[in-house]
Every structure is written in structure tokens, then in C-alpha cells.
């Protein structure tokens, strides 16, 4: 493998890892702060992709400004959806055992899949890359790298920075960090924990939906696309440490590299590598790379 190719594969790895981070960060927040194992998180990703497909005509009609507008609409819709879902369903899961949470959110996956099937059908769809991002950057001779993938990596990085800024530097972020370590104390200190939980859940949903919308032109939109990303996200969350955003970032990049280079170098066992990685890390650090609380 010569250097140019190696560089390109690194770009692929980073792009995959950063996208994974968007999904996993939402999951780790929900898992770490609300204490809920949410299997339906992959469904949010799927909803995001189908949303991109459904909003595509809008984006095409107002070329240029359409795509960011579609993304913005998607984010707003998902925040509302996440807020309502937490209020109506998730808030009842807090006192329950993990097993019950697992099974109830598993039921939710089935519900979302079928609702999507009824509303938008079961076909596989492509989503067009917006024109101003449709070009390719030449890299070393015969190969070019799609601009859109660079755009994706850039956007994910920006979101990661924004997330860090919010959690580390704002009051809300402080409440979130405190809530992850000691829920009752935060409540005793007068913070409305229910509102906080609702915000965190809505944020988690929005992150997953946004990731789905962003990824749709690259992965196609198909039924069951949430399942694969769900399992890998859980692996990322567990490797990084439940509740840790920093851990999620490091873990997703790690997984991105292992998966990408695995697929190219040892395709026979590439699928297994990520889980071997997780098992190895858990044996070394039983609670993930960065534990919280």
C-alpha cells in the first residue's frame, strides 16, 4: 500500500469514525445521564436518513440553500420529536431494570420500522448529493476523493467541538456533568432534573437524526439500516466509557480505523475485529477507557 492510498484510507477511517461519533455521543449521553439503555437509537439514525430522502425535493427546489435548510428542518423536527418521546415514553423507563429497558426499547424499534414502512415504503432509495458538494478532489493520479465526504468529516468535527463547548463551558453542560455523577444531589440543589433529562434526550435524538441525514447520500436509504449502526454505537460507547463524550470520540475513531483498515487488509475477519477490540479493552479496563462517576 503506497502512501497516497494509505492517506486516502485514513481519510475514509476518520470520516466513518466521526459519523459514528455523532450517533454514539447521543447514545452515551442518554445511557450515562439518564441511565437508560436505548436500543431504539439506531432507529433515530434511520429516521434521519429517511427524512433526508423525504425532504430531498425541498432541497432540490431551492438549490444551494436547500440542503442546509433541509438539515436545519430535520434537526428542529428531531428535537421536538425527542422531547415528546421522552415525556411520553422514556420517562417511564428510569425506574426500571436494564432488562425491561432493553426489551421495551426493542419493541420501539419494531414500531418505528413499521411506521416508516407504512409512511415511506420499503424500497431502497438514493439521496442526491447537493450540487455544490458533488465534486471530487483529485488525489494522486487515478483516484479522486468525493468532496461530500470531506464535508461530512468537517461538519462532524464542528459538532464535536460544539458539544465539547456546551458540556465543558456552559451552565447546562455543568448540570449535565453533575447529573451524570449524582442525580439526587443535582435535584436537591434545585435543578429541574426532569427538564434536564428531556433536553438531554432530545439532544441525543437530534444528534442521531442529524447523522442519518448527513450520511444518507453516502450510504443509501434502506430498511434496517439502523440495526448495524446501533450495535457498533454500543460498542463505541462501551469502549469509550458510558457517559463520556471524550471517550466516545476516541473510541469511534479507533473503531473507524480498525473497521476501515480491517476491510481492506483482512476482509475475512474484518467484521469480528471491532468486537475483539471491545473485548480486549474491557478486559484491560473493565469500565471503558474514560469512566465517569
Amino acid at each position: 500500500m503506497d502512501f497516497a492510498v494509505f492517506l486516502v484510507q485514513c481519510l475514509n477511517a476518520v470520516q466513518y469514525g466521526l459519523l459514528l461519533f455523532l450517533v454514539a455521543s447521543g447514545l452515551t449521553l442518554i445511557f450515562g445521564i439518564l441511565g437508560v439503555i436505548n436500543l431504539a437509537h439506531g432507529s433515530f439514525y434511520m429516521i434521519g436518513a429517511y427524512l433526508a430522502y423525504a425532504l430531498a425535493p425541498l432541497a432540490a427546489a431551492h438549490s444551494g440553500g436547500g440542503f442546509p435548510a433541509a438539515l436545519a428542518i430535520g434537526v428542529v423536527l428531531s428535537i421536538v420529536f425527542g422531547y415528546v418521546l421522552e415525556w411520553v415514553f422514556v420517562s417511564y423507563l428510569y425506574e426500571r431494570e436494564h432488562l425491561q429497558q432493553v426489551l421495551m426499547t426493542y419493541g420501539l424499534i419494531l414500531v418505528f420500522e413499521e411506521l416508516r414502512s407504512i409512511a415511506l415504503g420499503d424500497d431502497v432509495h438514493g439521496v442526491a448529493v447537493p450540487e455544490w458538494l458533488a465534486g471530487s478532489v483529485p488525489l494522486g493520479g487515478v483516484m479522486t476523493y468525493p468532496v461530500y465526504r470531506l464535508f461530512m468529516s468537517g461538519v462532524c468535527l464542528l459538532v464535536a467541538l460544539a458539544l465539547y463547548a456546551v458540556i465543558a463551558r456552559t451552565r447546562v453542560g455543568m448540570a449535565i456533568r453533575a447529573g451524570a455523577t449524582n442525580r439526587e444531589m443535582v435535584q436537591a440543589l434545585g435543578v429541574d432534573i426532569r427538564l434536564l433529562y428531556r433536553i438531554v434526550f432530545a439532544a441525543g435524538v437530534a444528534l442521531a437524526v442529524f447523522a442519518g441525514m448527513l450520511a444518507a447520500p453516502v450510504t443509501s436509504v434502506y430498511p434496517g439500516m439502523g440495526n448495524q449502526v446501533l450495535i457498533v454505537s454500543f460498542v463505541v460507547v462501551v469502549i469509550g466509557g458510558i457517559g463520556s463524550i471524550r471517550g466516545a470520540l476516541l473510541a469511534s475513531l479507533l473503531v473507524g480505523f480498525v473497521d476501515t483498515f480491517g476491510n481492506v487488509l483482512v476482509p475475512q475477519i474484518a467484521g469480528v475485529l471491532v468486537y475483539v477490540l471491545m473485548a480486549a479493552i474491557l478486559l484491560w479496563r473493565p469500565e471503558g477507557l474514560f469512566r465517569t462517576g
Binding site: R96, L99, V235, V276
Partner: protein, 339 residues
């Protein structure tokens, strides 16, 4: 005088706790003679799933270890059966069944040794990870036919000195063999429940630290339970491979592990009959929602009512169907006492 003795006899017999089980076994035994081919097949599949659920009940219900990767042992035994069965004459299941079970038990011992080092939610995740690993080994490599699956060329028979005693190629025989195995597994687990080993496991579920303080080496007990559960799941895996004559990686998927956990919680965690009941209810629900006779064109969206039913059942009946009478009684009692 005689009448009184007779009345006492009737009262004692009807108070026997084993009646529901006995009736169930009789119904299952008689069913092939009254049911249509497709439905006998369905009951057969459900019995195999019941064995699978019972094996997990030992882990989840008795020992309190929630494993999200139990399908791995089911699948490993099924694949071992398919891989080890020769392509020519019928292999004798005198050795094929133990071979499949032993493979599953070995895998469980190894995987358990790793997984049991983690606790709580991490344990759930690690069991999931190892199950996914086995899934990808079978799905991505050429070891056993990849994503298309593998065929069992000839179904096994139990032969002794060339005389066929139990020929599993005969569907009726296979049905009764499965029923016998189901009853055996149930009996073994019931016996374990009353043994010192079983009480130790229950103690570990209640408070592991206290058990350790009392001198039990809990890791050893947990590993033994994990291995035994894997072995029993292996019986179900063997039966599954023989029934269809076909194995595919999907039987190792996390959906399968999730489905069996669902069966347990539907029936009621902590009881053996809950595991069996949960399996039957789950399969019945799936068939019901998929039935075009009832739902017409909407039947193809059967996962929607199933998902809603799952949520409702877990939310409203967290202790399962077996606890329903108690739950209803508690519900009725205040009403009875009011006014």
C-alpha cells in the same frame, strides 16, 4: 366412610401442583394426531424454542446474569451438528447430539470465563460482543457456507449394532423426541432448583457479596451456571439443525438473543413454566399478527402490533404471565375491600 376417604383422595389429587404441567404434556403429546401439518411444525419449533428459553432461565432467572448473547451457543451447537454430520448415510445421534452439546458447552466455558469478569450492564454488553463475534465468524468466513448457510445432508438416527432405534428422519419420531427432551430439560432444571447448587445460584442473584463473604467462590458457580446454560442451549441448537436440515448465521444474531429474553420476560422471570409459556405466547403472537385471515393486507406490517404488544406486556406485566393471577388479585383486592 368410604366416600369420605374417596373425597379426600379427590381433593389431594386436584391439589397436586403438577396438574397444569401434566395436562400440557398430554396436550402436546396428542397434538400431532389432531393438528394440521403446518401447525404441528409450529408447535415443534416452539418446543425447541422452549428448551432454548429454559436454558437461559437458568442464567437470567436463577443466577441473575442477563446475557444478551445466548444465541451464540444455540448457533454453535447447530453449526457443529451440520459440520460434523457426514454426507453419506445417516449419522447416529448417539454421538452427534453429545458432540453438538459438548461444543456449545466448551464455547460457553471459554466465553463465560471472559465475560464473567465484567459486571452489570458491562456484562450484558460483553455477552453481546462475543455473540456478534461468533455471528461474524460464521457469516463472513468460508468456514460454514457464509451468509447463505449450510445444509445437513442426512438427518441422524439412533442406531445400535445397525438396528435403528430412533429415526429422526421420521417427523413424528422427531416430534416425540423433542417432547421427551423438553420434559427432561425441564426436570433437570427443576431438580437443580432444589439442589444446593441451585440455592447457591439464587443466593448469588440476591446478594453476591454476601455469598462471597459466606465462603462461596461465586466466580466458579457463575461459570458453572453459564456453561450449563450453554450446554442446554446446545440441545435446542441440535434439534433446530436437524429439524430444518439447514443452518444459517441468522440464528446467532442479536435479534435471536433478544427474542429469547423477550420470551422469558413475557412468561415470567424466575419460573420454569414461565419460560415455556413465554415461548408459546411469543410464537402465537407472531403468528397471530402475521395472519392475513385476521388482518388482511395490514398483516405485512405485523411488527407494529408485535412491538406495541411487547411494550405493553413489559410495561404492564413486568413479572410475566405467570404472575398475572397474583397481579389481578392485588388489583381486585382494594376494590373488594372498598365500601
Amino acid at each position: 366412610m368410604k366416600f369420605r376417604r374417596f373425597a379426600i383422595l379427590v381433593q389431594q389429587t386436584s391439589a397436586w401442583r403438577g396438574w397444569p404441567l401434566a395436562v400440557a404434556v398430554v396436550v402436546l403429546a396428542v397434538f400431532p394426531h389432531v393438528g394440521g401439518d403446518f401447525y404441528v411444525d409450529l408447535v415443534l419449533t416452539t418446543m425447541i424454542l422452549s428448551i432454548f428459553a429454559l436454558s437461559l432461565e437458568l442464567l437470567v432467572g436463577r443466577t441473575g446474569l442477563v446475557s444478551f448473547g445466548h444465541a451464540a451457543f444455540f448457533g454453535i451447537a447447530a453449526y457443529a451438528t451440520a459440520l460434523l454430520s457426514p454426507s453419506g448415510a445417516a449419522p447416529s445421534h448417539a454421538w452427534l447430539l453429545p458432540a453438538g452439546v459438548a461444543t456449545a458447552a466448551l464455547a460457553a466455558a471459554v466465553i463465560g470465563a471472559f465475560c464473567l469478569r465484567a459486571r452489570g450492564v458491562y456484562f450484558i454488553m460483553v455477552t453481546l460482543a462475543f455473540a456478534q463475534m461468533t455471528y461474524f465468524v460464521f457469516h463472513d468466513t468460508k468456514l460454514a457456507g457464509g451468509s447463505d448457510g449450510l445444509y445437513l445432508n442426512v438427518k441422524p438416527a439412533l442406531t445400535l449394532d445397525g438396528i435403528t432405534i430412533v429415526d429422526l428422519r421420521n417427523p413424528r419420531t422427531f416430534y416425540y423426541a423433542t417432547l421427551v427432551l423438553l420434559v427432561l430439560v425441564y426436570a433437570v432444571l427443576a431438580a437443580i432448583g432444589r439442589s444446593r447448587f441451585g440455592y447457591a445460584l439464587a443466593g448469588i442473584r440476591a446478594n453476591e457479596q454476601r455469598m462471597r463473604a459466606a465462603g462461596f467462590s461465586t466466580y466458579g458457580y457463575k461459570l458453572a451456571a453459564f456453561t450449563l446454560a450453554g450446554a442446554l442451549a446446545g440441545i435446542a441448537g441440535f434439534l433446530h439443525a436437524v429439524k430444518d436440515g439447514f443452518v444459517s448465521p441468522e440464528i446467532l444474531a442479536w435479534h435471536q438473543s433478544g427474542a429469547v429474553l423477550l420470551m422469558l420476560i413475557l412468561g415470567g422471570i424466575g419460573t420454569l413454566r414461565g419460560a415455556v409459556l413465554g415461548a408459546f405466547v411469543f410464537v402465537l403472537m407472531k403468528e397471530l399478527f402475521q395472519s392475513e385471515a385476521l388482518f388482511g393486507a395490514f398483516a405485512k406490517h405485523w411488527q407494529l402490533p408485535l412491538g406495541l404488544a411487547v411494550i405493553a406486556c413489559v410495561a404492564l406485566m413486568p413479572n410475566g404471565i405467570v404472575a398475572l393471577p397474583t397481579q389481578l388479585r392485588r388489583f381486585r383486592a382494594p376494590l373488594l375491600n372498598a365500601g
